[in-house]
Amino acid sequence: MNYPLTEDERMIQKTVRDFARRDLAPVAIEANEKGVFPEGIYKKLGELGFMGVTVPEEYGGVNLGTFSLVLILEEINAVCASTGVTMSVHNSLTNWCILKYGSEKIRKRFLPSLASGEMLGAYAITESEAGSDVSAMRLSAVRKGNEYILNGAKIFISTGDRAGAIIVFARTDPADRTKGISAFVVEPDSPGFSIGKIEKKMGLRASTTVEIVFEDCRVNADNLLGTEGMGMKIALAGLDGGRIGIAAQAVGIAQAALDEGVRFSRERKQFNTRIVDFQSTRWKIADMATAVEAARLLTYRAAKLRDAGEACSKEAAMAKLFASRTANTVVYDALQMHGGVGYTEEFLIERLFRDARVTELYEGTSEIQRLVISKAVIEEFERTLPD
């Protein structure tokens, strides 16, 4: 892709691309096939600085911005979306939350371990009755002395059973639907913390997705992020970064699928013709490639706005909406180009197809993204009307 990058950005991209292709790819094939979490890879990623991308140097990070993170996530996800989502949640959500809203004590305690990759991060918002409708959450957090007692459960938490620091959103004030939620950093060795169901998923099989059960789970009051009642604000602000991360994931998957489609169709011959030489294939390739570029540029744009400190909720939602849709259409077309063999595990496209689907579902469904976008567009329009 022809995009002006700085020397640093090119070097970052080269390191992560080389690492992804040489070190991650072989591990990914086996991990995804067996449904095993590749723990060792996160330590290596940590050593290279990829687990603390936006964390300041004083806490052991590299102090880079969202744009650099996007470059990194795209390359990682092109090889393994499971590693990609684990890294995305860890960097965009956990690290970010603790950095922005944790006390200095909490930051010092968690960020160095997270940045080095020794500790993994997770992010727990979703409940069985609270998916898109976040404020319907019922996990309760009751203040008792210098602790909060948590009761309830979270579901679909990536890395929940492997993380050393989990950002948990719980209701501290049952009366106030939106301002009654608070955010905490919870450690897995807290009394009353246990892992429940471990999901068997269509894709992202080298990442874990679990239920976390809180039964009179005791969390130190120091672990409160921000102040009581700030939970919703934190969640929404975090989502911008999270969505950009998933958009980058979708772009990576889409690019990988496009490459697989082109590669395969150049080699496969039927009727004495390479599949790639049929015009119908060529038109598909043109549309796929254009969509991937557009998705990438939307993602870049949102990232740059975020790095400039500007509001980017609409742009992040647009990137996530479009990139996730693109990933799904591109994997579909690329699989079609493979014909029957694309349906077997012999080829990478089969995994890319399964992995792509979730990008339209998590970190805000496409329906939610549309709500965010349309609301922003209409408000922008209304601001242009005379009083």
Binding site: E7, D8, R10, M11, I12, K14, T15, D18, F19, E47, L48, G49, F50, V53, E57, V62, N63, L64
Partner: protein, 263 residues
Amino acid sequence: MKILALLKRVPDTEAKILINQEGTGIKDEGIKYVINTYDEYAVEEGLRLKEKMGAASTVTVVCVGPEEATELIRTALAMGADDAVHVCDKALERPDPFVIAAVMAKAIKAEGFDIIFCGKQAIDDDMGQVQSILAEMLDIPQVNVATAFEIAADAKRATVRRRVEGGDEKVETSLPAIISCEKGLNDPRYASLPGIMKAKKKEIRKKTLADLGFSESPGEARSTILRWLPPAKSSGCTMVKAEEMRDAAKELVRLLREEAKVV
């Protein structure tokens, strides 16, 4: 210890090499340039030696190359090298090994050194001469095609394994010396993110030929390339047939040895 690592900017091994229309060289468009693969082993070995010897040791990268080589030098700095010398001059566009060696010798003498690592050859011209010519110019011993390296306790000697036909030789050399590196010597580290950030502050000493003290050209070309030729084109599969299967096997062996030259 002052450790030097020599670096050359070359086209990527995956690059599609096509001869240009005029027949004077290869087509430049679309070619990605990287650090010569064998020089990566050199940088890595230099870094390992530095780690072994301790804080007082430094690794300096020396590169004779165009402006665009800066990014590659920066990558070596991101791997952990301390600083660099970059000799960049318009007069050095298509230099031959003697010119490169002469220029490097001047730059290196000015730097001072205890040991020099470099790649066994550059993957563009595949000449593999610069290191030996340089060794002669600097009047130091050389050990080529190193597959293992170990410094002696007194840091005045080193033991090097070098690859020859049918096995390895163990060579003991006094230092300073120049060691050219072969694949398998080590596994070059990645330029980590922290390394990339630190590299921004590291010094690259840029020198022109004049800066090095060359009042005139460091040497004229000692050879002329008459023509460039593409490799022999493959035209589908050669089916090897014969009355007796043994003769077919014999013919296949002959083709593999004499035509394909892979055995």
